[in-house]
């Protein structure tokens, strides 16, 4: 488990480096090299672990090549995030080294979420992902909205942790084990206690990935947190939550005589998430808030991977993680360069910064799901997984309608950039050639993944 060790060690390293290194630039470069190192070290792990699970540390971790591939995707997205937005992250406040250290600790939690084999590790991974987020959300100490975001996120997160623990306790009472593979719910009449536990865990995890009706904290938190932090918590951490969700529900609760009990609940949650996320996003005036609601609606699509439970859904969540994270990180990176976060602030961007406008268009196309972008294939995979599962056709039709609604608010931004005359205010000095080239590479990656998904899927 090189990824676990390297992210933890680099986190500690960066935490201490704040003491000795005063230059923000140097710390940023250190962090980028840390992610590159973890990326390379994780590739080395691929030779050791196959498609069947390898149990490590007395069953605490159960490593598969799916988990490693997911970690690889996450590390790649974090690399892009650091390259695009690392400067903004370094400039939130005085504690540059600490911010990067917290990001690495969150990565550690994501690694555990992709490989846990025991309920205790699930709980710890969710907490390791959450606690640094509360801190990062409140790191803009002169902005009251950031305080509100942090307080709200903290109270809501701790509240949902209570539900997660209650669920785990009830499940333990019914089965006598915390191990997700030996829980053995299948093959005997399911008991009411286990069922109550499963439902409570589903609610708590839906809360963590901001699925409706547990999404109400999301807009305020995403809007209030510093934009660079929102970019991180709405992408990397959210898909980290999804991998924990999908692994638990497929491995522990996935057998046919268990899943009939929770499938309907999760289907309703999915439908509610799609409708509420997309319909509310239409009415937003601020692009940052629109992206917050769009992340709720994208969570609805990712939930399809959880309820479909077949090979396609595992492939779908991998593609979705990459497509959604890359496109959203790109959108936020451009948003951070704007002085006005409303739609009108984007008016006339195409004349002023044609490259930025073009890249933003590609990212938005991917979020809508236009063919030849990664977002299209990701949506195609998760929806066809649901079709293959059967009995979910109503949900698939609803999802397609919602994708059409989502085109409205994404295209509104494109319309503002290209067809509205205006004088948008951009932070010119921050748009360096390096930033532009990384942005272009990210957009290229979005298109390459859309044409050739084998780049990711060949590894599984």
């Amino acid at each position: 488990m090189n990824a676990l060790i390297s992210t933890a060690v680099f986190g500690i390293f960066l935490m201490i480096s704040g003491l000795f290194i005063k230059s923000k630039q140097a710390i940023r470069i250190l962090a980028i090299s840390g992610v590159v190192a973890a990326f390379v070290l994780n590739i080395i792990d691929f030779r050791q672990y196959g498609a069947s699970a390898t149990e490590l540390f007395h069953g605490m971790l159960s490593v598969t090549n799916f988990g490693l591939l997911f970690i690889e995707i996450i590390l790649g997205c974090v690399l892009v995030y650091f390259l695009l937005s690392g400067k903004d992250l370094a400039n939130i406040g005085h504690y540059t080294g600490e911010y990067f250290a917290l990001i690495f600790f969150i990565l550690c939690g994501v690694v555990l979420a992709a490989t846990y084999g025991n309920m205790l590790m699930l709980f710890l991974s969710i907490e390791i992902m959450s606690i640094p987020q509360y801190i990062l959300a409140g790191s803009d100490k002169h902005n009251l909205k950031s305080h509100e975001a942090s307080l709200k996120y903290f109270l809501m997160g701790a509240f949902s942790t209570g539900f997660l623990l209650m669920g785990i306790a009830l499940l333990y009472g019914a089965t006598g084990s915390f191990d997700i593979t030996t829980m053995n719910l299948a093959g005997r009449p399911i008991d009411a206690m286990a069922l109550a536990g499963i439902i409570l865990i589903a609610f708590a995890l839906a809360f963590k990935v901001s699925a409706a009706p547990f999404h109400f904290w999301t807009p305020d938190v995403y809007d209030g947190a510093p934009t660079v932090v929102t970019s991180f918590i709405s992408t990397i951490v959210k898909v980290g939550g999804f991998v924990a969700f999908i692994r638990l529900f497929h491995i522990a609760f996935g057998s046919p005589d268990v899943d009939k009990h929770w499938l309907l609940v999760l289907s309703i949650i999915t439908a509610a998430t799609l409708i509420i996320g997309n319909v509310t996003a239409v009415f937003q005036q601020s692009v940052k808030r629109m992206l917050a609601y769009s992340s709720i609606s994208q969570a609805g699509f990712m939930l399809f991977a959880v309820i479909a439970m077949n090979v396609l859904s595992w492939q779908g969540i991998l593609l979705y993680a990459a497509a959604y994270s890359l496109a959203t990180i790109g959108c936020f990176a451009i948003l951070m360069k704007m002085k006005d976060y409303t739609y009108d602030g984007y008016n006339g961007l195409a004349q002023k910064q044609p490259l930025l406008a073009l890249m933003n268009t590609i990212f938005l196309f991917s979020l809508v799901g236009i063919p030849a972008t990664a977002g299209f294939l990701a949506k195609y995979f998760v929806l066809s997984a649901a079709v293959e599962k059967g009995g979910l056709l109503w949900l698939v039709i609803l999802a397609v309608c919602c994708a059409a609604i989502s085109a409205f608010y994404y295209f509104r931004l494109i319309w503002a950039m290209y067809f509205k005359a205006g004088d948008c205010q951009v932070e010119e000095h921050a748009i360096t050639p390096a930033f532009k080239s990384v942005l272009a590479l990210t957009a290229l990656l979005v298109i390459i993944l859309g044409v050739w998904p084998g780049l990711i899927l060949a590894w599984i």
Binding site: M119, L120, F123, L124, E127, I131, Y134, I135, G138, K141, L144, K145, H147, E148, S150, L151, K152, F154, L155, A158, F159, T161, G162, L165, M166, I168, A169, L170, Y172, G173, G176, F178
Partner: protein, 99 residues
């Protein structure tokens, strides 16, 4: 002593904690109600530990305590930060400022 008694008790404590989170506005009291919820879970786990004759649930309780301690330090720091700027620990701080 049937295990059911402990289940009822901890569910009751858990629900009281949930009600507290929903009806109070003072962030510190809400946080205390969350601690109450976690303790209800701890009690349930210890009861199940005896029921199944298995020590791992007691270890789980340790880790819940560990996480609760970490959460308290972060949470109280956040509450103190909010208090410093608004002189209030009301959870609807922005609503309060608008009035």
């Amino acid at each position: 002593m049937p295990i059911q008694n402990y289940i009822w008790l901890s569910i009751a404590l858990f629900s009281i904690g949930v009600i507290g989170v929903l009806i109070r506005r003072n962030a510190i009291v809400i946080f205390m109600c969350i601690e109450l919820m976690l303790n209800a879970v701890n009690l349930l786990l210890v009861a199940f530990s005896k029921y199944h004759h298995d020590a791992s649930a007691q270890i789980f309780v340790f880790f819940i305590m560990v996480v609760a301690a970490a959460e308290v330090s972060v949470g109280l720091a956040i509450i103190v930060m909010v208090y410093r700027h608004t002189k209030s620990v009301d959870v609807n701080i922005l609503n309060r400022l608008k009035n």
